[in-house]
């Protein structure tokens, strides 16, 4: 039997009388803690501590325990020697494509489809993505993320965004694909364009973070510093140049609550499985494609063509062109390739920053295209200018510091 509007409201009143209890509000310790995490004077140090914990746990679990502790031993100690012995004819093209360098002692160096192609996503990236999504889910379900949005609102307004842009930023540190989709929470076209462009250029994904941690743990802080500085500077420039408004938002801040284990497990499984299913084929294909291009001499030709730009303007070896091609498919693969090219530490920092700010991986490219072809092309245009300008600036800073 259908109820009319008045009857529905009567039913609501009846249910509320029987179930809702009214009383005086008394502030508890949880409420006060919630306020402290939102006020800038206390909230910012707390946010710094939360991010410290996030990063420390990420490095300890993914880097020290899983990748260095187990995966390297399994892949380099067992898988690679077995594959090198079992695959016939080390001088053949299939051997080069699928196993890689017959003299390689690590899967990183070998660069075959079945060596690097499996080691990068399974041995390095998967533990990183797993622990990242675990911690992000806990922060989300505990109610901390909306408070972080309130805290960041003033800062993000200076670059044409508002506090809720922290959600795509944090998502982007896991994977840029859901982060680009999450830009829909922003209200205006201007905000969505700025966020999408900054995501594609300055936010490294979890896969990249995992590989960066494995390849250059000592100088990772400098890479982040350059990316953060670029994010702020270019965000500010874009907010001044792009027409449009930057309205305020209202955020519903929930009370703090303990995350429910079943929800955390479900979200973690969904995100990790999605990453694994989408990432592994791209990495395998990426290694195969780059190896084919090497054999065909295309990489060498491109390296020669772009040598003036790479060596003079960016200050990196011309061999970096190979990883930059791989970066279109998978940025983690590109950073792994960089580790095999002889470079000074500053050149490595520059090359890793270039790979981060260079063209987004093809998965992100596809999602950006889905959000709007015109926006995507505009973002790519901005990206080309940023890569040229910022890459040159990093080289100039290195020259001034005497390290480049």
């Amino acid at each position: 039997m259908a109820l009319d509007t008045a009857q529905r409201w009567e039913l609501v009143d009846l249910i509320a009388q029987q179930t809702v209890k009214a009383g005086a509000y008394r502030q508890g310790i949880g409420d006060v803690l919630g306020e402290l995490t939102v006020k800038p004077l206390t909230g910012i140090p707390i946010a710094v501590a939360v991010l410290y914990a996030f990063w420390s746990i990420f490095c300890s679990f993914a880097g020290t325990l899983v990748t260095d502790g187990f995966m390297i031993k399994i892949f380099d100690g067992c898988w690679l020697p077995w594959l090198q012995a079992a695959w016939p004819d080390p001088g053949s093209i299939p051997y080069f494509l699928f196993v890689g360098d017959p003299a390689a002692e690590t899967c990183f160096e070998a660069f075959g489809v079945l060596t690097s192609g499996l080691f990068v996503p399974v041995g390095v990236v998967l533990p990183a993505v797993f622990v990242f999504y675990l911690m992000m889910t806990v922060l989300e379900d505990s109610g901390y993320l909306p408070r972080l949005a309130v805290l960041m609102d003033t800062l993000l307004h200076r670059i044409g965004l508002h506090g809720y842009a922290i959600v795509p930023i944090i998502l982007g540190l896991g994977c840029n694909v859901p982060a680009v989709t999450a830009t829909r929470v922003l209200e205006t076209k201007k905000q969505r364009f700025i966020m999408m462009t900054l995501l594609a250029i300055f936010i490294p994904c979890g896969a990249q973070l995992g590989i960066m941690m494995a390849v250059l743990p000592e100088t990772l802080g400098w890479v982040f510093l350059y990316l953060l500085a670029g994010f702020v500077v270019f965000g500010y420039v874009l907010s001044r140049v792009i027409p449009g408004s930057n309205p305020e938002i209202l955020i519903d801040v929930p009370p703090y609550r303990w995350p429910v284990a079943a929800n955390v497990v479900m979200k973690l499984w969904s995100k990790t499985r999605g990453f694994f299913v989408s990432a592994v084929p791209f990495v395998l294909f990426g290694v195969l494609l780059v190896n084919v291009l090497y054999l065909a001499g295309v990489i060498g030709w491109l390296a020669g063509l772009f040598e003036p730009l790479f060596v003079t303007w960016f200050g990196v070896p011309k061999e970096t062109v190979g990883p930059l091609i791989a970066a279109f498919l998978r940025k983690d693969l590109a950073v792994a390739q960089l580790s095999t090219i002889p470079m000074t530490p500053y050149q490595m920092i520059t090359a890793v920053v270039l790979i981060s700010i260079y063209f987004p991986c093809v998965a992100t490219f596809v999602v950006m295209l889905r959000e709007g072809a015109r926006q995507m092309l505009s973002a790519v245009g901005v990206l080309a200018v940023v890569v040229l300008l910022y890459g040159g600036l990093i080289h100039a800073v290195g020259i001034l510091l005497g390290v480049a």
């Binding site: 501590a49 300890s60 260095d68």
Partner: protein, 153 residues
């Protein structure tokens, strides 16, 4: 006769000052102004930017919060500040402990197996644990805050 509030003020103020001093020491040692500082079971200082600069700033902020809260132990906000400050110290100590735990599980380099032996694991996890000091302070701060919260109900 010292009142309860005075005792709490003294305890958390001293802890806060010690935390600020430790944080500043860590930052200065990282910046290269001196050698590592050894204070009983605690060694402060190294060249790790993340641990000693970033971590040092977190410890300094935690100490400052404790001192700010210790001045206001008559109300709930004071206890909440103290609890936040202690938890921030526990973030540093807890993540250090977790890092030690993660290092102790895999077999050492050059060993044939994947997992560390049980004696090897225990040796890696051996004390001293400076974090235990912060655990005591965190537990105390938590109990006092909860008691204050209930007394205001």
């Amino acid at each position: 006769m010292v009142s309860r509030y005075q005792a709490e003020w003294f305890f958390f103020s001293v802890l806060g000052l010690a935390a600020i001093a430790g944080g500043i020491a860590g930052v200065l040692v990282w910046a290269g102004t001196g050698d590592a500082v050894v204070f009983g079971p605690v060694t402060i200082g190294g060249d790790d930017l993340f641990r000693y600069l970033w971590g040092g700033l977190v410890v300094i902020a935690g100490g400052a919060m404790m001192i700010a809260g210790a001045r206001r132990t008559a109300d709930l906000e004071g206890y909440a500040l103290i609890l936040c400050g202690v938890l921030m110290l526990w973030v540093i100590a807890g993540t250090d402990l977790f890092a030690i735990f993660c290092e102790s599980i895999p077999a050492p380099e050059g060993s044939p197996g994947l997992f560390n032996s049980f004696p090897g694991f225990l040796a890696g996890m051996a004390p001293p644990y400076p974090a235990v000091l912060f655990l005591a302070a965190a537990a105390l701060a938590g109990v006092l805050a909860r008691r204050k919260s209930r007394s205001e109900d």
